[in-house]
């Protein structure tokens, strides 16, 4: 009967019920859609970061990434073939940090070979400083692995504008020229990054590769990037702030609507009190109404959130200009649905709606029945 009375009250005071209903729908949609955008951003950025750092990183045991004279991993082609035999979707990326420090003026630059290994890159910063272009000849002063000093004139083969370095141009010089003065074995790489489609499998695949390459150090991303999640904390803080504002507005509307609704039927509630209802019964009656409205709001809200998120997943948010500046922001951001987060949103809104209805419910329940009965509508 409590339930039945609550439902009928919802329909009798339909206008106020609808205010609460739509307010909660807007809130749940705001929370869930923004959660999905945040989730999408985090997932995509995480993949970009992991790909950049390598979902699995292979290096020689005792490798010092800053010691460029130290010997690297030999026979890259063979290593790549063996990796692909166990991880077919693997993208095996050699980190050919040249076994030498190349210096020019006051700039220290690392040379980096790109995939084709037909050319080698030197840094954007240097290119900018030199104002060099394709066909120009530059002088590179270098130390080789043996510790000797070389001076070499190198003709710039081409200029890359979308290479591994972003925010400028990269100069490409012929790799044989580099080899020549750096005494560099192109089959030797400093590190190998292995990326694949499911980064969650990094642990198990690492173990598999460790068995295949006992002499190499194979580490999955989660061993190296233990604090990766904390990087997204800023994004989370923004989300929490947004959620807090949404919830604050919601709480005001809910409390005001429930308060108006109970004040409008003060006399009815006073009568129920007079004929023997406890305060608790009145509170339950009002909260039951709120729970019913919230339940249907959350259902409808989640449905709308799904429709909106699906649409956004098709369209995406375009951040090409921002993505050019940093490699960790995806050029097109697609929201992603995290069902657990959505459930948490629903539960949170449920509790929130109840919390903000308690005050009006208690207020009317504590009112002396004789005072409530005096109310004329």
């Amino acid at each position: 009967m409590l339930f039945k009375t609550a439902i009928r009250n919802i329909f009798k005071y339909l206008r106020r019920s609808l205010v609460i209903f739509f307010c909660l729908i807007v809130s749940i949609v705001a929370l869930q859609v923004s959660d999905s955008i945040s989730e999408g951003f985090k997932r995509q950025s995480k993949i970009l970061m992991l790909e950049s750092a390598g979902m699995i990183l292979i290096e020689r045991k005792g490798n010092d990434p800053f010691d460029l004279i130290q010997e690297g991993i030999k026979n890259f082609d063979e290593v790549e073939r063996r990796i692909k035999s166990v991880i077919p979707d693997a993208r095996v990326i050699p980190e050919i940090v040249a076994p030498a420090i190349v210096v020019h003026d006051t700039f220290s630059v690392n040379t980096l070979a790109i995939g084709t290994r037909r050319e080698s890159l030197i840094s954007t910063k240097l290119a900018k400083k030199l104002k060099a272009d394709a066909g120009d000849t530059i002088v590179i002063l270098s130390t080789n692995r043996a510790g000797g000093l070389s001076i070499k004139e190198v003709k710039i083969e081409s200029v890359l504008t979308n290479g591994l370095f972003t925010g400028g141009v990269d100069l490409c010089i012929p790799i044989d020229k580099m080899e020549e003065f750096l005494l560099w074995d192109t089959g030797e790489v400093k590190q190998i990054r292995v990326n694949f489609n499911q980064y969650e499998k990094a642990d198990s695949l690492s173990k598999l590769l460790s068995g295949m390459f006992p002499d190499l150090n194979i580490s999955p991303w989660n061993e190296r990037l233990k604090n990766l999640e904390s990087l997204f904390r800023i994004s989370d803080i923004k989300m929490y702030l947004f959620s807090f504002i949404v919830l604050l507005l919601t709480s005001g509307i809910i409390m005001n609507s429930v308060l108006s609704s109970v004040m409008e039927r003060k006399k009815d509630l006073g009568t129920i009190r007079a004929i023997g209802s406890s305060r608790r019964f009145i509170i339950f009656l009002i909260l039951t109404e709120v729970v019913i409205i919230t339940f249907f709001s959350c259902l409808a809200g989640t449905f709308f959130s799904y429709i909106i998120t699906r649409k956004l997943m098709q369209v995406g948010f375009h951040y090409e200009s921002v993505a050019e500046m940093t490699q960790y922001i995806p050029p097109v951001l697609y929201p992603a649905i995290n069902p657990l987060r959505w459930i948490v949103d629903v539960i949170f809104l449920f509790v929130w709606a109840i919390i903000w209805s308690i005050y009006p419910a208690v207020l009317i329940a504590r009112m002396p029945p004789v005072k409530a009965l005096r109310e004329e509508i």
């Binding site: 009967m1 039945k4 009375t5 009928r8 009250n9 329909f11 009798k12 006399k267 009815d268 009568t271 129920i272 009190r273 007079a274 004929i275 023997g276 209802s277 406890s278 305060r279 019964f281 002396p368 029945p369 004789v370 009965l373 004329e376």
Partner: protein, 230 residues
């Protein structure tokens, strides 16, 4: 003695002034009484009934319910007594608009935690007793004023209280309907032994009561047992 008032006063603050609604009333209500509280508007009838019904506390004096001092009773205890021992009939019927006639009657029984089937049976009997056995599922706005007040009476009697307090139960009814309502109450008093205390200023209705208490400016000016003609 069911209800006893000893030197009861009730004051209400009204802005900066204080309204002395009841100015020292001594009164006893016995079981089986059929008592009318008469008096002009503002004489304190409603206040007196509210005090008897434990809806309000006296400012001064003592109020006893079956010998127990209930002058400063807690809200929880007052609720319990109202739920189990007192029935109320209001001037404006005060039916819950979203509930049907039978649900309105069931409500106090639900508050008494009576089981569903028994509750429904009792409510049907109560509505049949007031002549509304055929309008169980009508909502208040589908009933006439007289019918609504009958539902209110059914609601008051369904829980089989020791006393029913009726605040001007005929005020919003035409004289014929009002008279029939009072006759119905009297019949219940006679046949079922329910104690009724009601207020009115309708002279025709006052005549029907066995005992007439007259209030004026918050004081009892007469308390007489009369030969009622039902």
């Amino acid at each position: 003695m069911l209800i006893e008032l000893k030197g009861v006063k009730k004051d209400y603050p009204l802005g900066r002034t204080v309204v002395h609604a009841i100015r020292g009333v001594d009164l006893e209500i016995s079981e089986g009484d059929f008592t009318v509280i008469a008096g002009p508007s503002g004489s304190g009838k409603t206040t007196l009934l509210n005090l008897m019904g434990l809806l309000d506390h006296p400012t001064e004096g003592k109020l006893f319910f079956e010998g127990r001092d209930v002058s400063r009773i807690s809200d929880r205890d007052a609720t319990f007594i109202r739920r189990s021992r007192i029935g109320f009939i209001f001037q404006t019927f005060n039916l819950i608009p979203v509930l049907t006639a039978i649900e309105n009657v069931e409500l106090p029984l639900l508050l008494k935690r009576m089981k569903g089937k028994e509750r429904r049976k009792r409510a049907e009997e109560a509505l049949a007793a007031v002549g509304l056995g055929d309008k169980l599922y009508h909502k208040p706005d589908e009933l006439s004023g007289g019918e609504r007040q009958r539902v209110a009476i059914a609601r008051a009697i369904a829980g089989m209280p020791d006393i029913i307090l009726a605040d001007e139960p005929t005020a919003n009814l035409d004289s014929e309907t009002g008279l029939s309502i009072i006759k119905l109450m009297k019949e219940m008093n006679r046949e079922q032994g329910v104690t009724f205390v009601f207020s009115t200023h309708d002279a025709r209705i006052i005549e029907i009561a066995r005992r007439k208490i007259e209030l004026l400016d918050g004081k009892v000016v007469s308390d007489v047992v009369q030969n009622s003609n039902s």
